[in-house]
């Protein structure tokens, strides 16, 4: 089996007739990739037993859908998509939303007061914020903010996902990022102040 690529194993599994014939190919795929999936599930849940249950579900879903795998794609990308989506669903199901946000200081309160309710103005604010993020934050801060605010991952899960080893983990990066954004926003405001008539 070792001489086959992942995609060749999938193809042989798709064309094999009967469970007995498919089993060796699925087993080979499992042996190759179970640590990847186990690692992801552990970093998302932070608990070994939950991670094993989640990883089991993911492999069953992948193997049951193996006939739908499209030639020309990479197997690990497909496996990654299913793992990522299932893990995020799991977190949402637990309703562990962005509760930690209330512990954080209000460095950019001004921004919120100025944010208008209309979708268009919010979109404009979003574009400006995106520019400030690009100009002010480092890579880790950007990733922490994205995982927390877009994917709604709890801060402890973000710390595990990004292997953050500092004491406060992701929370420290959020605080630092928000301070930087406040400074960048103030600078932007001072540069774009309308001239007095």
């Amino acid at each position: 089996m070792e001489r086959f690529t992942d995609e060749e194993l999938v193809e042989r599994c798709q064309t094999a007739e009967g469970s007995a014939a498919k089993e060796p190919f699925l087993n080979a795929l499992f042996q190759r990739h179970h640590t990847k999936v186990a690692s992801w599930c552990y970093h998302i849940t932070g608990d070994m037993n939950s991670a094993v249950d989640l990883a089991q579900e993911i492999f069953v879903k992948v193997f049951q859908g193996i006939d739908r795998f499209r030639r020309g794609s990479k197997f690990t990308t497909w496996l990654y998509s299913i793992t990522r989506n299932r893990c995020l669903d799991e977190l949402r199901a637990k309703k562990r939303q962005v509760e930690e946000i209330s512990d954080l200081p209000d460095e950019i309160a001004d921004w919120s007061r100025e944010s208008a309710d209309s979708a268009i103005e919010r979109d404009e604010s979003g574009k400006l914020m995106r520019q400030l993020i690009r100009d002010s934050l480092d890579e880790t801060e950007t990733k922490v903010m994205t995982l927390h605010y877009v994917h709604e991952l709890p801060l402890e899960a973000v710390s595990r996902m990004l292997r953050l080893t500092n004491d406060s983990g992701a929370k420290a990066y959020i605080v630092s990022a928000r301070r930087k954004l406040k400074r960048a926003h103030e600078l932007w405001k001072s540069r774009n102040k309308p001239a007095k008539v």
Partner: protein, 249 residues
Amino acid sequence: MLNRNSLEDVLQTALRPGKDCPAIEELERLVSKAAPESELSAHVKSCPHCQTELHLLQTFEAGEAGETSDEVRRTAALLRKRSQKIIRQSLPAEGRVPWWRAAFTIRSLAQASLAMAVILAVAAVVIHLRTNTQPPSINEGTRIGQDVLRSGSFAITSPVGDLHEAPKEVRWEKVPNVVCYRIRLLEVDRNELWKADTTEDHIQLPPSVRSQIVPAKTLFFEISAFDASGGKVGDTGLVRFRLQSGNGH
């Protein structure tokens, strides 16, 4: 007073994927260096969301090569213990070992089963030779017009490839002797967004489905054809299409 919802809305708007963000399969080409330095890499460099997605994909791909803690190793070991259960759970029930194959796998019965099979085969050949005095008809056993199609043997005619506007319907080649077509709309991770059955060679897309066809999002249609007995006689395979960036509905 701080309006947290507004702040979170702005941050989410800034960080969530935009219309130009590529599908995960395209990001993967960057990871595997299959894509040349291009607009894609330029986009990723300036997009917080894609940078994060790429990092997560790389972390996943690195797998064992990356940092592996004791907890991860133990989680993997626990998962390994379930490997047979997982594979059995994944395989279809009808594919389990039939009784006749089981008979050949029990050592004490294997030789007897093999001998009996040989005797029956010889007997069948003898009976066939003795009774078959008429020359066989040319058409015997041939079901004209009942061709069994190979998988992927008919095509979707639209929508296919990059589109300027969201499709209103799906059309495909008509297949003889088919009584039902099943149409499925899938995301790149094979998540099913919509499914419908029809007897025609086209189907209108309901507004709720069209609203899910957004710019720069790669989607697939897959159509399977079934005969009167409910047997699958062919399918189109996954057919990619995408609404180009900057196009509305």
